[in-house]
């Protein structure tokens, strides 16, 4: 099916680590699937679960939060809150019927360009295999 091959995946990347890692992947010209859209935040802890809920409910195929490795957060502890939120959110989303894999949290440091590329490729493959998330336009029921 044509739709399967074009998932749209929202990525939140923190300025100090994962966004820089993504930049490094770019500088290194690492090829990866074109389905991701990065939204820059200063810290992964800025990402409120309501964004994830809204994005997935509105039909985006995947939402990924990227943060600094635990212990390396630029703001010392932001990513610990992100972790707790993600733990709870993940279980809850699966419970209400959103397939495991559509929401993920990963740690990427500023020097891990290759890891960013691998992560994006892996997550895109996972989400492609899940197929499109049920699409619903705001105007429709």
């Amino acid at each position: 099916m044509a739709l399967d091959d074009k998932p749209t995946i929202l990525i939140f990347a923190c300025n100090w680590c994962s966004y820089a890692g993504a930049d490094l992947a770019g500088v290194s010209r690492l090829e990866m699937p074109p389905n991701c859209r990065v939204v820059r935040v200063m810290c992964s802890a800025r990402v409120r679960p309501e964004f994830v809920i809204a994005a997935l409910s509105r039909g985006l195929d995947g939402v990924v939060i990227l943060g600094c490795h635990p212990g390396d957060c630029h703001y010392s502890e932001g990513n610990y809150y992100t972790w707790r939120r993600a733990l709870l959110l993940k279980g809850f989303l699966e419970y209400v019927g959103i397939e495991p894999g559509r929401f993920q949290l990963r740690w990427i440091s500023a020097s891990e360009g290759a890891r960013f590329a691998q992560t994006i490729t892996e997550i895109t493959d996972t989400i492609k295999a899940l197929g499109p998330n049920g699409r619903r336009r705001p105007q429709e029921g």
Binding site: E50, I53, A54, S57, R58, L88, G91, F92, Y95, R136
Partner: protein, 316 residues
Amino acid sequence: MEQELREIVRKLLQEGAIEHFIGYAEGVEPLHTTPCFIEREEEVGALVWSPFCPYNLARYLHQMKNGAGKVGLVVKGCDARAIVELVKGNQIQRERVVVVGVPCQGQVDLAKVEEAFQGAEAVEDAGDTFLVTVGEEGHSVEKERLLREKCFFCKHPISFEYDFVLGEMSPFLLDRRSELEFAMIEEMESLPVEERRAFWRAQFERCSRCYACRDICYACYCQECIFESRAPRWLEKTTTSLDNQTYHLIRAWHMVGRCIDCGECERVCPMEIPLRQLYKKVEREVEQLFDYEAGMRVEDLPPLVTFQVDDLGLVI
């Protein structure tokens, strides 16, 4: 017990120890009570206590937030947890509240009574049974037949946060069926993901967005609810499948670490959406992952505003 309650309240009002008392009064119809708000000694006669007191009166403490006077209220064990949470969330100071704890032996599910005994006029708590009066006849019924589902696994029948207690703080007479507490969660989890999705979609589609669940919830005290926000517009004013789902999922998220399973939301839902089956999922996760129960101690930090480095070892 009702006499004792009325006496306590009368004295509190007489001494000026409280300005208002929130309690239960006879409802208009049989088998109903209604929350009542008393200010004068003469009114205490209206106060009752029966197995038909499901309302979580702590909900009304919202209105007391910015005042100065003291308020008293009667609470079951489950409801008392709401008071702790309200104090934790800076919505009221403990000193302003006079808590009358009542050793509840279980609340009756009105739907079950109406199904089993049409035209019932009264139901009394008789220790380990209920005594149902239909016309002239009295029927002794095993409690399990009429009890609210949440009462089967009541973890905190004894309110530990109280200034006065009615009678004695006696333990819950019924055997606690703790295996029931999360049985419906486990059942849902055993279904394949597509069935879960279909189930919840069907449930959310029935929602009329009356917001009764939000309005009755003790924990919903935001100055302006997120769902009223126009910046951003998390959802629209329509009852589309999308908006309903967004509403319920975000609300459930906001219940993390705060839901005390008072069951009011489900009771008031006109569409009979199984809301407890949603909120108890996060209740269980919070308990299992972070060993946290809402409303136990004011000093307990809510799970989302704290962390342990050990958290990283946790897996779902």
